[in-house]
């Protein structure tokens, strides 16, 4: 069946939990406002099961109830992995036989973001979730520029190193910093190198993988990405089998 609803304790009951703060003092009026919002969210009937004032001008609510919405599974658009997962040996083999030189990969955190643990997880030998990072791949030439690299600096280094792929991490998302920075990245590479720009890959825990086109990059990876996925993607995007055949 392609239509489902949230499940509390019975199929089809539609039950959800939600919490939020409204900038109104606590009281019956605030509860009414919370119910109004819950109603607009499609929760019907809604129960305000808890509320308490925060300071004098705010009220926090917990609401339970049944949403009237249906979820149509057929309409779900998923960024399904459209490339095969390869082992490190297969990745190395593909690069060797199809490219005949090392694949040059450059990584960085751009903007003022100093969170390197994510990009390190993808690049460093140590890797992530039991998979070795890209530095482990014999046929890759990996440079990790670290954090707080400016976009112009990154473009310059990528050009100098003739990078095949540039991997950028963005973890801070407040005020959509990650989206802004990614767009700036894409624009700068387009402007500086046009068609000959390297493959642009961004990643970070709060990205929606479906946004690549919108952001002007080739691929977006989200939370929990493993190095093997990234390596496999690089092979499929840069060295498609047909080319080698």
């Amino acid at each position: 069946m392609s239509i489902v609803r949230p499940y509390g304790d019975t199929t089809g009951d539609g039950m959800v939990q939600t919490s939020f703060t409204l900038p109104v003092p606590p009281g019956p009026k605030a509860e009414g406002a919370a119910l109004q919002l819950a109603g607009k969210m499609g929760i019907h009937p809604a129960m305000v099961v808890h509320s308490h004032g925060i300071g004098t001008g705010f009220t926090f609510f917990v609401v339970y109830g049944s949403v009237t919405h249906l979820v149509d599974l057929d309409a779900v658009e998923v960024e399904e992995r459209d490339y095969p997962l390869l082992s490190p040996t297969e990745v190395n083999g593909a690069i060797k036989t199809r490219l005949h030189r090392k694949l040059v990969v450059m990584g960085a955190c751009i903007g003022t973001d100093a969170h390197t643990v994510g990009i390190d997880a993808i690049l460093n030998l140590k890797g992530f979730a039991g998979e070795k990072g890209l530095e482990y791949y014999r046929e890759m030439d990996v440079a990790n520029l670290g954090a707080q690299v400016t976009v112009p600096e990154l473009v310059g280094q990528a050009r100098a190193a003739r990078a095949d792929a540039v991997l950028v991490s963005q973890v801070v998302t407040q005020k959509d910093a990650h989206l802004r920075n990614t767009r700036e990245l894409a624009g700068a590479f387009r402007e500086a190198m046009g068609e000959s720009r390297p493959l642009l890959v961004v990643g970070g825990p709060r990205f929606d993988p479906a946004m690549a086109r919108d952001l002007g990059v080739d691929k977006v990876f989200g939370r929990g990405t493993t190095p093997g996925e990234v390596a496999s993607y690089l092979v499929s995007a840069l060295l498609p089998e047909e080319v080698a055949a």
């Binding site: 304790d9 019975t10 039950m15 919490s19 099961v49 808890h50 339970y64």
Partner: protein, 523 residues
Amino acid sequence: MSARLTLDAGLVTRARELAALAAQPVIDLAGQHTTVSVERAVLRLAGLEGTDPVTGEGEIPWVNRVVDVVREQVGLEHGVALPVWHAIASGGAGSLQEVAEQVGAGTARFEVPTGGAEERAREAALAAVGAGLSRVDGARRRREELVATHGDPPRRPWIYLIVATGDIYEDIPQAQAAARAGADVIAVIRSTGQSLLDYVPEGATRTGYAGTYATQENFRLMRAALDEVSAELGRYVRLTNYASGLCMPEIAALAGLERLDMMLNDAMYGILFRDINPIRTFVDQRFSRMVHARAGIIINTGEDNYLTTADAVDEAHTVTVSQLLNERFAREAGLEDWQLGLGHAFEINPTVPGSFRLELAHAMLARSLFPDAPLKWMPPTKHMTGDVFGGYLLDGFFNLAGMLTDQSILLVGMMTEAVVTPWLSDRDLALRNVRYVLDAAGGLGEDFSPPPGGFIDTRAHTVLGEAVDLLERITADGLLPSIAQGTFGITKRPADRGKGLDGVVVKAPGHLDPATELMEAAL
């Protein structure tokens, strides 16, 4: 063991003496009476199943019909066994089932046999009920085998989870999911109305409110589902239900037959929280406990409930008193210490300063007073609110206290306690909570040692002292008058009031209850 306090031995001895004194008059009372449900349980053990297709929209079990008609025709003072097996032994009916059908058809004519006829009826009844008890014994042996095969949970406390959709077919996958996620014991709560029904519903049911009907078929279906998942997990997952309400003896019998592993079964819960007549309750209690003893079932008593109506600090000693009474009643009925899942609860108002340490004190008192009982510890319910975040935290501290004080069975709290009967996700989150606590803080007992004379030790002794004082008063006043005065759960229940009183019958000399007779003989 750090979770034990060194209690004042004199006080402990006195407490048990007083509990025995207080319980005795009620035990005597139980011996002098029978009830419609005890009599129906006898028929159930003898194998009578099914409902009268005609009366009451086909919902009334044959056991009810037979007992009612026997009572109409000859009274229940001699019990149902003599008239019924007299009918069979004298050739009036070919089988118990046929007796029922005659009742249905309105052709049954019962009489109380005497002399040789009485002896024959008696033999036949004992044989028939004995066969049922053998099935109970078989179920017990089967449990022992399965535990040997699959193994017990790897650690204490056992994790106990509630399922309560009202629909046995939604309950089953939820129970299996809970077991896979770490539950050691599954309890299927009953529909709100069932405890006051004076019959046990039949068949697989899907229409309970805030709980699922306890029926023999539901027992069977759920036990089979848990056997399946036990094999899959390599850990015997236990099943619990409620031997409580007006049909307590029958449900106990069905639990024994269908291999349930634990049963909620309390000496006073029905009186206090269901307004069931006290005498009816104590009579039904004794029978049901004998069945549980025989079936190797662990009982869970209901002291936790007192703290939902009374204050958990002020009335802490009433929990201790009730545990001592439950222990006494249970031992008298043949239950062994390993079967006494005495109840208590984490119900102190969390805004009381030092509430967590008070909880530890109360939990350690119970642990130290009943060192060999598989204590069952209940999570916060009364002070849970719709603040599900705060509730999740409180449940975590409950889990911690349970582990630190070496409780045996931990009923896992739900963050939505004040909101809804548990959702699938609530149960899953609750199990994650308890898993974190047990994995992260397991072994913390090594570092936990409340000093003699410290806050915890002092508080535990205060409560024990208050319990002894209260027991003195109860032995002086009598247990029934004490209940009438609102001693437990600040709820007053006079002995001559309450539901189900009309189902209580004073036994005549020569009353036959073959089940009790066989069970007592085997003790």
